[in-house]
């Protein structure tokens, strides 16, 4: 899965988690002060990505130490998460 496809999937998942109350952009912040996603919504997003990964035959690992570190985290923005999701899909 390339990054663009991953972005489409991710934006759809996040908009679903936000119940359509906001439009999601590629540079939207996922963690930190200005994010629209609280911690439990982020968990919902991760579970949805886990399910999608499962359907596509790979395991999406999101709760590692690197993932949770704000400075290095895959959760900084929609783009960084999509890049990680794409990368993990390619093993």
């Amino acid at each position: 899965m390339n990054v663009d496809e991953a972005k489409v999937i991710l934006i759809e998942v996040i908009e679903s988690a936000l119940e359509g109350k906001a439009t999601v952009s590629e540079d939207m912040q996922l963690i930190g002060g200005d994010t629209l996603l609280d911690s439990m919504k982020l968990v919902e997003v991760c579970l949805a990505l886990e399910d999608i990964a499962d359907e596509r035959g790979f395991e999406f690992i999101w709760n590692s130490e690197a993932a949770m570190s704000k400075s290095r985290s895959m959760f900084r923005t929609v783009t960084t998460l999509a890049e990680e999701f794409s990368s993990q899909s390619e093993g």
Binding site: M40, V43, E44, L47, E50, D51, N63
Partner: protein, 225 residues
């Protein structure tokens, strides 16, 4: 389906048998699942990868998980100053870290369902600060604090988290404890007698019943304190 850790002996085993009598599907987790008389998965709760593998296997079964009962535990009846390093590590790792691992790694199943319950185990030793059980009490005090907070984290997903804190129940954990010592403990309970494994099973049944849907973040002391 109900998942029970520590299924090979003591309270975990008793809980499994009680739930099986009630026609529940029970999957027991134990280090030696082959020795179980019922459906089981080998799992060392203190080992993250082992719990992760067990959770993956449970998820693959594809049935609703109504409850995860974290009954796995070890005890240490010694003064803190005479407890060796390995025992300290083992007690904390199995009782506290093991409970946390099981809650973390089984939570995604229950979160997806938006239903279910975790039941964790503490001990009367926390409330009574029992001499000779400081390391054990420390591990279980951690379980209580974790459970109360985890309950708040799970509440929005309709997942309940509670603790049961038994007094001295006749299991291997009480090996070497005299009747006099037991009476000294039970005399401090609201109901001053020794309770049985079946009493603990009764409370487990209550907490997994739909009628307990208003209860979360609580510690239920068998016999009261």
């Amino acid at each position: 389906m109900i998942v029970v850790t520590g299924a090979s002996r003591g309270l975990g085993e008793a809980i499994c048998h009680r739930l099986l009598e009630k026609d529940e599907r029970v999957v027991g987790l134990a280090r030696s699942a082959n020795a179980l008389e019922f459906e089981g998965i080998s799992c060392d709760v203190g080992d993250y990868q082992s719990v992760k593998s067990a959770a993956r296997q449970i998820r693959k079964i594809g049935e609703r998980v109504d409850a995860v009962i974290n009954a796995a535990g070890v005890a240490s009846m010694n003064l803190a100053v005479t407890t060796d390093e390995a025992t300290v590590q083992k007690v904390i790792q199995t009782n506290l870290v093991g409970t946390i691992f099981c809650c973390q790694l089984f939570a995604p199943i229950l979160l997806r369902q938006k239903s279910g319950a975790f039941i964790n185990f503490s001990t009367i030793a926390v409330a009574l600060a029992l001499k000779g059980e400081s390391v054990y009490a420390a591990s279980k005090a951690g379980v209580e604090a974790f459970s109360k907070t985890f309950a708040r984290e799970m509440a929005d997903f309709n997942v309940k988290v509670n603790c049961i804190a038994p007094g001295p129940i006749r299991t291997d954990l009480l090996r070497g404890i005299t009747d006099a010592q037991i009476e000294k403990i039970t005399s401090q309970q609201v109901i001053s007698r020794q309770f049985e494994k079946s009493d603990v099973c009764d409370v487990v049944e209550l907490l997994i019943d739909a009628k307990a849907s208003s209860l979360s973040g609580q510690v239920f002391h068998i016999g009261g304190v």
